[in-house]
C-alpha cells in the first residue's frame, strides 16, 4: 500500500504544476492591466487608466460589436445545422452519402484553420465571379465560414449525447402514437437540450475567438476583434490589450461561475427529489 500512496502524491503535484502553468500567464495579464506604466511589465503603480483608454478606442469597440454580432448569428445557425447533422448521424444508420456526411462533419475539427480559411476565400471569389454573389466580402462571408466550422463541433456533441440517450424513449413515444417530427420536438430535443446549450456556447466562443479564417474571408471595413487585436499586438505588447483581456476573462469567469451555481442548484434539487422518492442517491 505504501508505494500506491507514493504515486498518489506524485499525481496531485503534477496536476498543481500543470494548472499553475495554465493560469500564470492569465494572472500576469490581469495584474499588468492595472499597471500605470506603458511598459506593461515594469510595475510603476496601480492605475485603471488603460481601461479608460480602451473604452475611448472606437476601433476596438466597433470590432467587438461586429464580432459579437457574427458570433451570435453563427452560433444560432451552427446549432440548428449541427443538431440536424448530429441527429442524422446518430439515428439514421443507412443512407446514401452517410460516409461523406460523417467525414465532412468531423473533418473541420482537425482541419488546420489556415486551409479552411484559404479554401473558403477562393470559393467565395469563384462564386462571385460566376453568380455575382456574395458581392464583396464582409459580415456574411465571415458568418458562413464560422457556421461551417462550428457546426461540426455541435454535430459531434449532439451525436455523442444522442448515442448516450436510450433509443427506447423515442420508440416509446412512437409506440404511443407520436409521428417522427413530433417525437423529435417532444422527446429528443428536450433530452439533448444541455448538449445544444454547450454547443451554442462552444460555437459562440469559436467564432469570437477566430483570427485566421476571418482574416481570409473578411473584407475591408469588416475587421473582427481578433483581427484588430492581432494587428496591434504584432507591433508589441500594449497595456490597453491587457485591459481588454482582463474584461474578457472577467466575463468568462462570471459566466462559468453562474453556470456552476446553476448546475449545483439543479444537482441539489435532483438530490432532494431522489430523497423524496426514497431512492439511493448514487
Amino acid at each position: 500500500m505504501k508505494s500506491i500512496l507514493g504515486r498518489i502524491r506524485f499525481l496531485p503535484v503534477c496536476l498543481a504544476l500543470g494548472l499553475a502553468f495554465l493560469y500564470i500567464p492569465i494572472l500576469s495579464l490581469i495584474i499588468y492591466s492595472f499597471n500605470e506604466s506603458k511598459l506593461v511589465t515594469v510595475w510603476s503603480g496601480f492605475s485603471t487608466k488603460w481601461y479608460g483608454e480602451l473604452f475611448r478606442n472606437q476601433q476596438i469597440i466597433d470590432a467587438a460589436l461586429l464580432s459579437l454580432r457574427i458570433a451570435v448569428m453563427s452560433a444560432c445557425a451552427a446549432v440548428v445545422l449541427g443538431t440536424i447533422a448530429g441527429f442524422v448521424l446518430a439515428r439514421m444508420r443507412r443512407f446514401r452519402g452517410r460516409t461523406l456526411l460523417a467525414g465532412m462533419s468531423m473533418a473541420p475539427l482537425v482541419m488546420p484553420e489556415i486551409i479552411t480559411g484559404l479554401s473558403l476565400l477562393l470559393f467565395f471569389i469563384a462564386l462571385e465571379k460566376m453568380t455575382g454573389w456574395p458581392n464583396g466580402r464582409g459580415i456574411t462571408t465571415v458568418t458562413i465560414a464560422h457556421i461551417t466550422f462550428s457546426m461540426a463541433y455541435v454535430a459531434v456533441i449532439v451525436q455523442s449525447r444522442l448515442a448516450d440517450m436510450d433509443p427506447s424513449l423515442e420508440e416509446a413515444a412512437m409506440d404511443l402514437g407520436a409521428r417522427p417530427l413530433k417525437v423529435f420536438f417532444a422527446i429528443t430535443l428536450p433530452i439533448v437540450a444541455p448538449a445544444l446549450i454547450s454547443g451554442w456556447l462552444l460555437a459562440f466562443t469559436l467564432s469570437i475567438d477566430d483570427l485566421v479564417i476571418a482574416s481570409f474571408v473578411s473584407g475591408p471595413g469588416a475587421s473582427t476583434l481578433p483581427m484588430v487585436i492581432f494587428s496591434k499586438v504584432r507591433l508589441g505588447v500594449s497595456p490597453d490589450i491587457n485591459a481588454l483581456a482582463t474584461i474578457i476573462i472577467g466575463i468568462v469567469a462570471l459566466g462559468v461561475l453562474l453556470a456552476a451555481l446553476a448546475f449545483k442548484r439543479q444537482e441539489r434539487l435532483q438530490g432532494r427529489d431522489a430523497r423524496l422518492a426514497n431512492l439511493p442517491e448514487d
Binding site: M1, K2, S3, I4
Partner: protein, 389 residues
C-alpha cells in the same frame, strides 16, 4: 427419549465425520483468523467487529443483502481495504502490512475484470509472469488450466469474443492458476443465467475439491450459498449474525432475521405457557391453536412473547382433521401457485394471518386442493422452532 412420544426420526447417521468438520474439532487450527475486524468509511461502519475462523479446504460463503458489508470484508481479505481495527491472520501470518500484490490470495471479481486488451491465454498467464516464472513453465500451467476449465479452444480469443459463461471460467482460471492459499469469489455466478448457474455451481464445487484450495465466496443468493458451501456466515449491517453449515442455518436459524433471509418461513407470535427442559407450549392467537415444540428454550420466562417459525414444506395440508391436539389450525386456500415439482398454497387462517405451505405434486394431473378449499394445516413438534430474537 422424546423420540417415542413425538415420533421424531432418529438422527441422520450419514453425516460427515469430524475430519470433514474441523469447526467442531477443538484441536483443529484455523487457516484464516479474523480478530475483531472493523472497517469504517467516515461515519459509516461497513464491517463491525467481526471475529471468525475459517479452516483449510473450506468453501465458506458470506451471505447477506446489499450493503451488509460482505464485499468490504472480501476486499479486506484481498488487501484492497485496510482494517480500521482488528487483524487478519492467514496461515498464522498477519496480513496488515502485506500489499495485495504480495498476498498469497487471489480474487475472482464480480465483473470478472478480465484485461480487455489481452487474450484468454494472456489473462491467465498474467499472474504467473508477475512471479517471474520461466516461460515453458508458464505455458504448461496455463494450458493445464485451460484444459481444466474446458477452454482449450479459446486460448487466443479476446474477452469480448467470449460468452458470459466462458468469461466466468477465464476469470476463475486466472485466479486459480497461481495456486493461492485462499481464493476469494465475489458473486461468482451472479452474471450467469439460471440454467448455467446451476451447472456452474457443481463445476465450482468439483474444482474446489480437486485443487484443495480454500474458497471464500460472497453472495446474496441463498440458494447458491446453500448448494456450494461447507459453512455459511450470514451477515447483516456489518456483523455476522450466524455461522453454520447450510443445514444448521436452514433448520436452526438463530433469529427471525436469519430465518426470513434463508428460504420462506411462517412466523407465529405467541405467549409461552409452559417451558420445560424437553418442550415448550405456546399459546398463539395468530396461529389459532396451541403450539407444542419439542425443545426447551430455558432462558425465557413463562408468559413472555416469542415467535415460532415453521417452514412451508413442513406444513401438511389435509381435508380431514388430523389426529393431534397441538399444532393444528384451519384456513381457506386463497392462492395456488403451480411450480412444477411442487405447488405453493397461501392459506388465510381465521385470525387473518396468511400462511404459506408447499406440497409436492406427486400425481401428474390431479391436484388435491384448489381455491376456496377449507383445509386443516398441521405439523410435527420437531418441525417448528422457537425464536426469541
Amino acid at each position: 427419549m422424546a423420540d417415542s412420544t413425538t415420533g421424531r426420526p432418529p438422527a441422520a447417521s450419514n453425516e460427515p465425520g469430524q475430519a470433514r468438520e474441523p469447526w467442531n474439532d477443538p484441536e483443529a487450527v484455523p487457516y484464516i483468523q479474523l480478530e475483531n475486524l472493523s472497517k469504517r468509511f467516515g461515519n459509516f461502519t461497513a464491517v463491525d467487529n467481526i471475529s471468525l475462523d475459517i479452516y483449510k479446504s473450506e468453501l465458506f460463503c458470506l451471505l447477506g443483502g446489499s450493503g451488509c458489508g460482505k464485499s468490504t470484508l472480501l476486499r479486506m481479505l484481498a488487501g484492497f481495504e485496510a482494517a480500521s481495527e482488528g487483524r487478519i491472520l492467514l496461515d498464522g501470518v498477519d496480513m496488515a502490512d502485506i500489499p495485495p500484490y504480495e498476498r498469497p490470495v487471489n480474487m475472482m471479481f464480480q465483473s470478472y475484470a478480465l484485461f480487455p486488451h489481452m487474450t484468454v491465454q494472456g489473462n491467465i498467464a498474467f499472474g504467473l509472469k508477475q512471479e517471474g516464472m520461466p516461460r515453458p513453465e508458464i505455458d504448461r500451467r496455463v494450458s493445464d488450466m485451460l484444459e481444466l476449465v474446458k477452454l482449450g479452444d479459446y486460448a487466443k480469443r479476446k474477452p469480448h469474443q467470449l460468452s458470459g459463461g466462458q468469461r466466468q471460467r477465464v476469470a476463475l482460471a486466472r485466479a486459480l492458476v497461481k495456486r493461492p492459499k485462499l481464493l476469494l469469489l465475489d458473486e461468482p455466478l451472479g452474471a450467469l443465467d439460471k440454467k448455467l448457474r446451476e451447472n456452474t455451481q457443481f463445476e465450482l464445487m468439483t474444482l474446489q475439491e480437486e485443487l484443495d484450495i480454500t474458497f471464500v465466496v460472497v453472495t446474496h443468493d441463498q440458494e447458491e450459498a446453500m448448494t456450494l458451501s461447507s459453512r455459511i456466515g450470514v451477515m447483516d449491517q456489518g456483523r455476522i449474525v450466524q455461522v453454520g453449515s447450510p443445514n444448521e442455518i436452514y433448520e436452526h436459524p438463530s433469529s427471525r432475521l436469519v430465518a426470513n433471509f434463508i428460504g420462506s418461513v411462517n412466523l407465529f407470535e405467541g405467549n409461552v405457557v409452559e417451558d420445560e427442559a424437553d418442550h415448550v407450549r405456546i399459546q398463539s392467537a395468530e396461529a389459532g391453536c396451541m403450539l407444542y415444540i419439542d425443545h426447551g428454550v430455558n432462558q425465557i420466562v413463562e408468559g413472555s412473547r416469542v415467535s415460532v417459525a415453521v417452514r412451508p414444506e413442513k406444513i401438511k395440508i389435509s381435508r380431514d382433521s388430523p389426529e393431534q391436539e397441538d399444532n393444528v389450525t384451519r384456513g381457506v386456500i386463497e392462492e395456488v401457485a403451480y411450480m412444477g415439482s411442487l405447488s405453493i398454497y397461501r392459506i388465510r387462517l381465521s385470525s387473518g394471518v396468511m400462511v404459506q405451505a408447499t406440497q409436492p405434486n406427486l400425481d401428474r394431473d390431479t391436484r388435491q386442493f384448489t381455491w376456496e378449499d377449507e383445509v386443516y394445516l398441521s405439523w410435527n413438534p420437531y418441525s417448528a422452532l422457537v425464536l426469541t430474537t
